[in-house]
């Protein structure tokens, strides 16, 4: 029997804009009632165009922002970020990896300190153990021991993203929200990072919420897929169901817009062009 790690019930989020001197403020509904459930060890991919609310949802799931209404349950416990702060026990269950590897690391912190900071904040462990755990994680994401005392600017984008993943895993979270973690990387590095993510998921039995707009990546990593369109979930199901039988118009358009690079489709395209 698998357990539900993350559940949202009717999450909405409104942004109020303006209210300036002349005009009345407008309200933008960034999320219009999102329901989802993710089982332990599974990956839910959230797909959608820019501005459809993917990142807003990610910020709510990681308890950075509060939803306007709706419920967020982590490990079956409701989270109330609005009324009182989130306690650290809850906080450490969900961690996030950001899209831009150049902005997500503090330029003044050495890699070792980046990795040890979550432990300093949350756990009372002796310095030695802290270092050992950070070093262990550093090696696990495929970096070398000598990287421990270097600054972020000395690393490439792919390496930085590994560091960001390592930092997110330092607290042994249950759920990892990956906000387009590979879209800023080039293709070969994307594959490496995706493989590391797959390995880590198995090792720590992690649950992933993987936000992306790259369908080939989603097809590779996801168990379930949710397609968002202007703040609504227009398609939600297992990967195979969504990919083989898209129900919503937007999903079909999205799939049709994906470039295909297999030989048959190239031949077909050339034939069409010649005709």
């Amino acid at each position: 029997m698998s357990e539900i790690v993350l559940e949202t019930r009717g999450i909405t989020r409104d942004y109020h804009i303006g209210g300036g001197f002349f005009g009345k403020g407008r309200t933008i509904n960034a999320l219009k009632g999102i329901d989802l459930k993710v089982e332990k060890g599974k990956t839910l991919a959230i797909v959608g165009e820019s501005g459809c609310g993917k990142s807003t949802l990610a910020r709510i799931m990681t308890m950075i922002d509060a939803p306007t209404s709706g419920e967020l349950l982590i490990d079956g416990k409701p989270v109330e970020i609005g009324s009182k702060g989130v306690d650290s026990e809850m906080r450490r269950k969900v961690q996030i990896v950001f899209q831009n590897p150049y902005g997500s690391l503090n330029p003044r912190q050495k890699i070792g300190d980046v990795l040890m900071e979550p432990l300093i904040i949350n756990e009372k462990v002796p310095v030695k153990e802290r270092r050992e755990r950070a070093m262990e994680m550093l090696l696990k994401v495929g970096l070398q021991a000598e990287h421990f005392n270097r600054y972020p600017h000395m690393f490439s984008g792919g390496q930085r993203q590994r560091i960001a993943i390592a930092r997110a895993l330092m607290l042994r979270p249950r759920l990892l929200v990956l906000d387009e973690p590979v879209s800023a990387l080039d293709l070969s590095v994307q594959a490496q990072v995706l493989n590391i993510l797959a390995d880590l998921q198995e090792e720590f039995s992690l649950t992933y919420v993987f936000i992306s707009h790259d369908l080939s990546v989603v097809r590779y990593i996801a168990d379930e897929v949710m397609v968002m369109y202007f703040g609504e979930a227009v398609e939600y199901g297992t990967r195979d169901a969504v990919f083989s039988d898209p129900q919503h118009n937007y999903t079909r358009t999205l799939f049709a817009a994906t470039p295909r690079a297999d030989v048959d489709s190239i031949r077909k395209r050339l034939a069409d062009k010649a005709a």
């Binding site: 996030i96 600054y151 600017h153």
Partner: protein
């Protein structure tokens, strides 16, 4: 991006065979010095500044005369290399026969003291207020920034003058007034830097890791805002010295027998055509000190900002 430079400080504090060598304070200092010494101007500035500090500390030992002793019969004596110079008064004497060199040596004490006190008061208050304004935004920010705007709306020297007039003339009150006048600049700088850093992903990541407001403000955000503040501090060190001099000139700062450089300048302005040395040497002293501090500030920024470091 691995470095092949054998002097790379990271090699010294690195890891060998998987064991962690503790990053000692010494290694950090070595690293700092490595980057600082890349900038030759900064090193020269540092040495000059250290020399001035040493002169200020050792003033009673090196000064040939008392700074307030009036030597009758030696009024407006020119420096030693000019005709009529005297070896016991190397840089000549002023209108009442006091040795210019001795006064300059003692004056270093006052000028440095003014600079240090004014800058540290302005920086610490300014950074704290700016950090609060930039971090919490909202009503707090509005109130703080409007007050700062009001302070900035006055001509700075005029405001300092008014403050000294209220507090009463004297060196300490002049320093308080100048610090108060300078501090809005730090508030603005800090606030702007904090606001741009606060939205960055690494701050969010630290928050998700459980960091509280205090930790986010002082450990995560503030260290990334120091570069413009260091340069501003170095520049306003000189402004502080000059403002104090101006206040002294108007009779509101250091009172006349005090051998403060600015006051000396003010006292000597009527002799600018007759006895150039009385005006020139205090001016040169201010120029050299300010230049050295500015060069040093530049090097500090290079050394403290990892974004500028070559890897």
């Amino acid at each position: 991006m691995t470095s092949t430079n054998t002097k790379d400080p990271n090699a010294a504090v690195g890891l060998e065979g998987g064991t962690v060598i503790a990053v000692t304070r010494r290694a950090r200092l070595a690293e700092f010095w490595y980057y600082f010494s890349q900038n030759r101007g900064a090193v020269i500035g540092l040495y000059v500044f250290l020399a001035i500090v040493a002169i200020a500390l050792l003033a009673p030992l090196i000064a040939p005369h008392s700074p307030s002793l009036q030597n009758r019969g030696f009024f407006l004596l020119p420096p030693v290399w000019q005709e009529g110079g005297n070896w016991s008064f190397l840089l000549g004497t002023d209108a009442v026969g006091r040795d210019v060199l001795s006064r300059l040596i003692y004056g270093a004490r006052f000028s440095l003291f003014i600079g240090v006190v004014v800058v540290s008061v302005a920086v610490s208050v300014g950074i704290l207020v700016g950090l609060i304004a930039g971090y919490f935004r909202g009503a707090v920010d509005t109130v703080i920034m409007r007050v700062m705007d009001i302070i900035l709306a006055f001509p700075s020297l005029l405001l300092a003058l008014v403050l000294v007039a209220i507090l009463g003339p004297g060196l300490v009150n002049a320093m308080i007034a100048i610090a108060l006048v300078q501090q809005p600049h730090y508030v603005r700088l800090t606030r702007a830097a904090v606001m741009s850093e606060k939205g960055r992903d690494y701050v969010t990541a630290a928050r998700v890791a459980g960091a509280g407001n205090i930790r986010l403000m002082f450990k995560t955000i503030l260290p990334n805002c120091t570069a413009p503040l260091i340069v501003q501090a170095a520049l306003s060190f000189s402004t502080a010295i000059l403002d104090a001099a101006a206040l002294g000139f108007l009779g509101m700062g250091a009172q006349p027998p005090t051998p403060e450089w600015g006051t000396m300048l003010a006292e000597a302005r009527e002799f600018i055509l007759r006895a150039w040395w009385v005006v020139t040497f205090p001016g040169l002293a201010i120029l050299i000190t300010v230049l050295a501090i500015n060069l040093m500030g530049d090097g500090l920024r290079d050394a403290l900002d990892p974004k500028l470091k070559r890897s």
